[in-house]
Amino acid sequence: MTAALSIKNLRKTYGNNFEALKGISLEVQAGDFFAVLGPNGAGKSTTIGIICSLVRKSAGEVSVFGHSIDTDFSSAKQELGIVPQEFNFSQFEKVRDIVLQQGGYYGLPRAKAAEQADKYLKKLGLWDKRDTPARMLSGGMKRRLMIARALVHEPRVLILDEPTAGVDIELRRSMWEFLREINAQGTTIILTTHYLEEAESLCRNVAIIDHGEIVQNTSMKSLLKRLNKEVFVFDVEGELKKAPELAGHIVEWVDEHSFEVEVEKGQSLNHLFAELTRQGLEVVSMRNKANRLEELFVSLVASSRGEGTDGV
């Protein structure tokens, strides 16, 4: 089966000799929901820039559904929808006009472009703002406008660069639902994000880039399986003077009502609860201290830099 996106030995050196990409290779299968993670300056946006032709590559090959961006750029671009990190539409034009024009740039006849524009403006909750100049929209609305614009020609691959940056939680979750919906309908989605919870919740496969190289390229499940320990916070009823002693666990007192317990992979939570009950502690709530993927991400990036790992 032809990959939705295929990248081979992609390199980019900018004019100031900064080597942003050091020969990365990547394949994203059709229908996948794929996360590209990495710290700031890792090369994520450069990669996306090359795929959508806003950045000129130094070497390597990129193809979208088998169409090379060098030799068959028109077909390759037709398959792609791009939602960039920065707002990149005219602030003075009306919302509907922006989406409609994008349809025209992809060769959609005006009536068809209008139909598509209206469909996505309604789906993304922008229909009431269709005649509003883009500069009057809130940050979240501007992001949704860019998604509507990217989808107007119904691409088979949608690439989103930090789509929920600066978006409030409610809106972020509604955008997740929308992205899940279009992915279920067959659109391949590739997204970069700083919200690791977002990647964990949405994506099936993941690549981690650091310093222009791919550090990990695997499924989200197998990545999370590599997590060896987690820290849970327990809230208890009554006053807690010190951390309870729990054999086989590192325990830290947090305050009069809570403490943290480190649980290694394979250790029984039942046993832990039984011990707490035996010591007369009434647990009223329990939560994971940190995002699991975040811990893993920090550890993998540190490992790739030769800074040592802890617990992975």
Binding site: Y14, G49, C52, S53, L54, V55, R56, F73, S74, S75, K77, Q78, L80, I82, P84, E86, F87, N88, F89, S90, Q91, F92, E93, D97, I98, Q101, Q102, G104, Y105, Y106, G107, L108, P109, R110, R149
Partner: protein, 257 residues
Amino acid sequence: MEFNAQMVALGTIVRKEIKRFSRIWVQTLLPPVITMSLYFVIFGKLIGSRVGTMDGISYMQFVVPGLIMMAVLTNSYTNVVSSFFSAKFQRSIEELLVSPTPNVIILLGYCAGGMARGLCVGALVTVVALFFTDIQVHSWPLTAGIIFLTSLFFSLAGFINAVYANTFDDISIVPTFVLTPLTYLGGVFYSVSLLPEFWQWVSHLNPILHMVSAFRYGMLGTGGENVGFAFAGLIVFTAVLFAVGLHLLKSGKRLRA
């Protein structure tokens, strides 16, 4: 991209450009009409009535073709340079660059937008001129050909300026320090035959002089000794600018990282 789809993309760019300058007509269409009206009143009517004839025709009739030409070339240039640079500045040009629209369509679309504004202002100035004098056209094909090519030439020049520009200052340098002096010294208000021989020779290096003279000949039928040269020159230089514009888009200079 198939031909029909390319035409849709071209139509989209042209429509967007026309919509843009129509939306801000107080900044784009009205000022040149007011300025040219003042020129007609002051130079054509008040001063012109004391000048008498120029190259055998009334001074008012003499300045009308030059003022129309001045309006067309200035507005064609200004429209493309400001619109394309603004798209670069706001990064909305990326909407086009990520799409399958070929470079030649992008270039043609922006130039068509510049020509639409230039010719629209030219038509308005012509209407204003009708309040001051009768307008005859000696040769419609020549008049239309020269005005069309001039408008395209300056639209292309505006496009190239916009590609190289990094700041808003950069888009006003050429109009202020190159275009305006060349236009004022390009035989709009006087016949170069009034100048000493050396300055006549220098004036003939100014391309705008040839455009204005050819246009004046097309309208009035006088002073047409260099029309063929002007026409051929315009075609050659327009083709050169078109090739440069296309090369800049293809190479991605100042547009792609």
